[in-house]
Amino acid sequence: MNFPTKTLRALLVGAFLATPALAVAPAGPAPAFQLASMAGKPVSLDQYKGQVVMINFWASWCGPCREEMPILEKLHAKYKPMGFTMIGVNVEPDSAEAAKWLKATPVTFPILFDTKSEVSKLYSVASMPSTVIIDRKGNLRWLHRGYKAGDENEYLNQIRALVRE
């Protein structure tokens, strides 16, 4: 009876010590891409060179993604005058559900449709939702995996810092 209880105690302590890592700092230029947008005209990333860009990979079937959208809309509205833009990349192969959801919950920032998952692969999307923040020079600066209430504070701090560059 000694071995299991000692090990169990050690494991529970170990499990509690494991710290979650949600925001990481990647490096290098953000991969270029061009996708069809909801507005009609295709949109490419280099249209936004010189601005701070936040790309949010989302899907209508993803709960935390839907929860995050109103917050992203607020960020876009607030920082747009300072040279910032939010881009929503919808990862669904069939855009019908996403279009339906956006009709009920509209946003003003560009929504692009990555129906072939090319951009998701390009950015190695490893969780839903995923958010990358790109600086004015076009380099990747921040990567956020997932969304939890309160993450928007980190977004605010990072955007504010990059917008001042």
């Binding site: 071995f3 299991p4 090990t7 169990l8 050690a10 494991l11 529970l12 170990g14 499990a15 509690f16 494991a18 710290t19 979650p20 890592a21 949600l22 709960g63 935390p64 490893a126 969780s127 995996r145 997932g146 939890k148 209430a149 309160g150």
Partner: protein
């Protein structure tokens, strides 16, 4: 049992070590259900209410209140000479979940009470998402204490101590196929029989006499199951499952089931299911023993006799338009599931029309049970 405990401890080590990234706790909800079972002279019906609330992003609590209102003139009641009785069983449970990184820890307590039976169960479990959330591994442990009485004998008092170990792995196989493997071992000690049942034996005059059942005071069982669920291209789901069960009483059981789920007309989801169950009886089971005291353990309870159960089910679920409620309600649904169950006993005989002396013992017709049960519930998500 010792080996399993070590395995569980070992696997918890793996859980602690994997990189922590967030998963999510399920949403706040309330479910109100009416359940009804009718068959074999028994009617059991009542409510089941469940409320679940998250506190922040990491903690959630779920409470459930369940009642069985029983009115029984089952074959066992009739044959024992008793008249229809009514009884009420109340069950309350509280569960807490704590999410940290990709690990969910849960603890729960359940209490069940009826006039001659009280049960307390404590449970702990850990669940971990890994390998890009394609795999979920979970471990569970439960401990229970049942206190048994008898309404016919107020001096009768006994108990059962129970331990339950569960391991499960759910694995995403493809974007359309899910699999789940579960193993559960239960070990019990104490009074494991039903104080209202009896066995029967051939007596000297060629008819039968009743005698007390004698069950072992321990029972250890092992069950392993596999489930596959496939997403069909026209938006439907097909699930198949199989479970193998064996225990120290000699019961071997196979369970196989399929379920088809089909959404229609935007707000409706329909389902159909079929379940086949077969078990051998326990080693010490017999419908008619050659004499009193024939062997150390003797049982005649139909639940542990060789039998086959087939159950067919139909379900319909309607998701109501959110505009009905306002912004405090995220989603709501009304659900109805009806089931028809047929149990064929291959050795248990129907003695209701055959008291001692009316037929040659062992030639009475075999018993068969037909029952219908349904659940109707409203689910609200906040």
């Amino acid at each position: 049992m010792h080996a399993l405990k070590r395995f569980a401890a070992l696997a918890l080590l793996a859980i602690g070590a994997t990189g922590a990234r967030a998963a999510v706790l399920a949403e706040d909800r309330a479910d109100m259900m009416y359940h009804r079972y009718q068959g074999g002279g028994i009617t059991v019906q009542g409510p089941s209410v469940l409320v679940r609330k998250k506190f922040g992003e990491s903690l959630a609590a779920t409470a459930n209140y369940y009642v069985d209102n029983i009115s029984s003139a089952s074959i066992d009641v009739v044959v024992s000479g008793a008249s229809r009785y009514a009884e009420r069983r109340e069950q309350k449970s509280l569960a807490l979940e704590y999410l940290r990184g990709k690990t969910t820890y849960s603890a729960s307590y359940t209490n069940s009470k009826e006039n001659d039976y009280k049960a307390d169960t404590y449970s702990l479990s850990v669940s971990q998402d890994m390998f890009g959330d394609l795999t979920t591994v979970s471990f569970g442990y439960s401990q229970g204490l049942d206190k048994i009485g008898s309404s016919v004998d107020p001096t009768f008092k006994d108990e059962i101590k129970r331990r339950d170990y569960r391991v499960g792995v759910t694995q995403v196989l493809t974007r359309d196929l899910l699999s789940s493997f579960n193993y559960e071992a239960v070990t019990e000690q104490g009074y494991l029989q039903n104080p209202y049942r009896f066995m029967r034996f051939l007596n000297a005059s060629g008819s039968y006499s009743r005698g007390p059942e004698v069950f072992p005071r321990t029972r250890t069982s092992n069950a392993g199951s596999v489930m596959l669920k496939y997403y069909l291209p026209w938006r439907a789901a097909l699930q198949g499952n199989y479970r193998f069960y064996t225990d120290t009483w000699g019961i071997i059981a196979h369970t196989a089931g399929i379920e088809y789920t089909h959404p229609l007309w935007n707000r409706w989801i329909f389902s159909g299911s079929y379940r086949y169950y077969t078990q051998t009886g326990s080693d010490f089971w017999s419908d008619l023993f050659p004499r009193a005291g024939y062997q150390n353990f003797m049982a005649r309870d139909k639940e542990n006799s060789p039998l086959v159960t087939q159950t067919i089910g139909l379900g319909a679920s309607y998701e109501f338009p959110i505009e009905w409620a306002g912004s405090w309600l995220k989603k709501g649904s009304a659900n109805l599931h009806i089931n028809h169950m047929m149990v064929d006993y291959s050795k248990f005989r129907d003695l209701r029309a055959f008291p001692p002396g009316t037929a040659t013992p062992g030639t009475e017709p075999l018993y068969a049970l037909d029952a219908n049960f349904l659940t109707f519930y409203l689910s609200l998500w906040f």
